[in-house]
Amino acid sequence: MIAFLIKRLFQAAIVMFVISLLSFSIQDNLGDPLRELVGQSVSEADRLALREELGLNDSFLTQYLRFAGKAIQGDLGTSYFFKEPALEVILKKLPATLELVFAATLLIIVISIPVGVFSAIKPASIFSKAVMGISLIGISVPVFLTAIMSIYIFSVELGWLPSFGRGVTEHVIGSWETGLFNLDGLLHLLLPSISLASIMLPLFIRLIRAEMMEVLQSDYIKFAWAKGLSPTRIWFMHALKNTLLPVITVGGVQIGTMVAYTILTETVFQWPGMGFLFLEAVNRVDTPLIVAYLIVVGAIFVITNTIVDLIYGLVNPTVKLVGEK
C-alpha cells in the first residue's frame, strides 16, 4: 500500500511539474510583462535596463526555476486586471465553483443510483424504457443548450427562477461566501446545478444499470436468492456494493470533466466562479490569472485522480497495488 502511495505521489508530482512547465512557457510567450508595468512612455534604454533588472534576459531554465520557486510558495504573480495576487483572486472564486460541482454531484448521486438500480431490476417496465429513451436524448444535448433552454423556460417564460448570478451570499470563514444557507442562494443554484448534472446523469444511470444487470446474473446473487434473503437485502446490500466499484472509477474521472463543464455552465448563468473568471481573463489577456487558473485546475485534476486511485485500491481488494506485472 505504501509503495503504491509513493508511486502515485511521484507520478502526481511529475504531472504537476509538466503542468507548471507548460504554464510557465505560456506566461513566457503571452504578452510583454514590461508593457503591463511601465506603459509606452519609458525610453528604450530604460526598458533594456529594466529587462535586465527583472531578469527577463536570463535563460529559460533560470527563469523557470525562479517561477517554480515562487509558485511553490503560492506566489503566481499579480493579476494585471485586478491588481491583486492571482492565486488569491482564483481562490476567492473557488467556493462558488465547488458549491456548483457539489450540488450537481449530489443531484447525480441522489437520482442516478435509485433510477439505475430500478431500471436494472425491472428492465421491461415502462419507467425503465422511458429512462433509457430520455437518457439517450440527454447524452445528445450539449450542456450549454440545456442551460439556455432552462433559462428560457423557467426564467423568461415562466419567471419562476432567477437566470443569473449567485443571489444573496453569506460569509462563512475566510474568503468563503456561501449561498447554500438561504432560500435566495438555493434558488439561484437550482438551474445551474441541474444543467451541470444533466450532462452526467445519463452516463451514470446507464453505467449503474449495465453494471447492476451484470452483477444480478452472477452466481453469488443466485446463491443469495436460493438462501431466501429478502429482495431489498440482495439488491442493496449484495448487488449494489459490487456495482459501485466501476462507478467510483468513472466518477473520479468525471469530477475532472465536471470542472471543465463548469466553464460552460458558469458562462451561461454568469455564475461568479473560476470558469467564468478564466474566460474573462482570456479576453483581457490577463496572463498571470490564466496561469494561476491552469495550475489550480491542474492540481484539482491531479488530486482527484490520485484520491480515486487510492480509494479504488482500498475498496477493491483484487486490484494489484504495486504495478501490474
Binding site: V15, I26, F144, Y152, V156, V259, V268, L279, V282
Partner: protein, 317 residues
C-alpha cells in the same frame, strides 16, 4: 502494385455481393431505428453538402443581408414576414440558410477531427500493442495521463491561449483548422486504447505467427494483417467520437473560442442567439439547437446499433 489494384478492382462486384449478404446489412434491415437514424443522417449530410444550392440566401455575402430584417420570427409566428422560412438572426441573416452552412462547418470539423484522432490513435495503439514492453507502458502512461484531464478542458485551455496570443482577428481566420487540430489531438487516447486492446488480442493468433514465419516486415504485419481485424471496434467508437466532436465543437464555439459569428457553426449560432433569448427571440438559439441535438442523437443511435450488430456477444442495453 498496379496488378494488385486491378485484382482488387475486379473483385469489387464480388465484394458488393458479399456486403449485401453480410450480417451487418441483414441486421440493419431488421432494425427500424437504425434505418430511420441513417435516413435522417443522410438527409442532414446531403443538405450540408448541397447547402450552396439549397439555401435560399447566402449568409456569407454581406450585400444580401439587411439589418432591418433582424430578429424576424419563423413563418408560423404572427409577426413573421413570410420571406424567411425559419426567421432571421440578430444580424438579419436567413436562419435556414445560415443553419445549412453552419451544419456544413460542424460536420466538416467533426469528421476531420475524428479522422485525425483515428490516425494518431491507430499509429500509437498499433505500436504500443504490437511492440509491447517499454514502448507500450510509456505510450499508455501518456494516454492515461491525457485521459485523466478532460478533453474539453484541454481544448478550452489550448484554444484560449492561442486566442489570447494571436488576437481575435487572426484567430477567427484560423479557427476552423485550430478546432480540427485541437479536438483531433485531444481525443487520440480513446482510439489508442481500443486499438491496443484489439491488437493484444490478435497478436498471438496463428495467422500473425504464420505471417511472421513467412518473414514479413513488422509494418506489413501491423497494417495488412492485424489492422483489418481491429476494424469493428474502430467503427463503433468512430460514431461515438464524431458525435462527441460535434458537441465539443459546438461547446467551444459557444464559449467564443470556435467559429466566428461571420461564419457560424451550429454552436456559434446558438451562442449568438443566447443574448436575444431574454427579449423573447427564442428561435435563433432553439432551432439550431434542435438540429444539433437531432444530428448528434442519430449518430449516437447508429453507434448503438453498430455496437450491437458487430458484437453479438454483447448484451443489449
Amino acid at each position: 502494385m498496379s496488378q494488385n489494384t486491378i485484382a482488387t478492382l475486379l473483385k469489387m462486384p464480388n465484394l458488393w455481393q458479399r456486403l449485401k449478404r453480410s450480417h451487418l446489412i441483414h441486421s440493419f434491415k431488421k432494425d427500424k431505428v437504425a434505418i430511420a437514424s441513417f435516413t435522417i443522417l443522410m438527409l442532414f449530410v446531403g443538405a450540408a453538402i448541397l447547402a450552396p444550392l439549397l439555401a435560399p440566401f447566402d449568409p456569407y455575402d454581406p450585400s444580401t443581408i439587411d439589418i432591418m430584417d433582424s430578429e424576424l420570427p419563423p413563418v408560423w409566428q404572427e409577426e413573421s414576414e413570410g420571406k424567411f422560412l425559419l426567421g432571421t438572426d440578430a444580424q438579419g441573416r436567413d436562419l435556414l440558410s445560415t443553419m445549412l452552412y453552419g451544419m456544413r462547418t460542424s460536420l466538416l470539423i467533426g469528421i476531420c477531427a475524428v479522422l485525425l484522432q483515428c490516425f494518431l490513435g491507430v499509429v500509437v495503439g498499433l505500436c504500443a500493442g504490437y511492440f509491447g514492453g517499454r514502448i507500450d507502458s510509456f505510450l499508455m502512461r501518456i494516454a492515461d495521463i491525457q485521459l485523466s484531464f478532460s478533453t474539453l478542458m484541454v481544448a478550452i485551455v489550448v484554444l484560449a491561449v492561442f486566442q489570447a496570443s494571436f488576437g481575435a482577428e487572426l484567430y477567427s481566420k484560423l479557427a476552423l483548422i485550430m478546432l480540427i487540430l485541437v479536438i483531433g489531438i485531444a481525443e487520440w487516447p480513446q482510439y489508442a486504447r481500443t486499438i491496443r486492446a484489439s491488437v493484444l488480442a490478435e497478436k498471438h493468433k496463428e495467422y500473425v505467427d504464420a505471417a511472421r514465419v513467412m518473414g514479413f516486415r513488422n509494418s506489413r504485419i501491423m497494417l495488412h494483417h492485424i489492422l483489418p481485424n481491429t476494424l469493428s471496434p474502430l467503427l463503433v467508437i468512430s460514431t461515438v467520437q464524431i458525435a462527441n466532436a460535434i458537441i465539443s465543437e459546438a461547446s467551444l464555439s459557444f464559449l467564443g473560442l470556435g467559429m466566428p459569428v461571420s461564419q457560424p457553426s451550429l454552436g456559434s449560432l446558438i451562442a449568438s442567439g443566447f443574448e436575444y433569448i431574454f427579449s423573447g427571440s427564442w428561435w435563433i438559439s432553439a432551432i439550431p439547437g434542435i438540429v444539433l441535438v437531432v444530428l448528434v442523437m442519430v449518430i449516437n443511435l447508429l453507434g448503438d446499433w453498430l455496437r450491437d450488430a458487430l458484437n453479438p456477444k454483447l448484451y443489449k442495453d
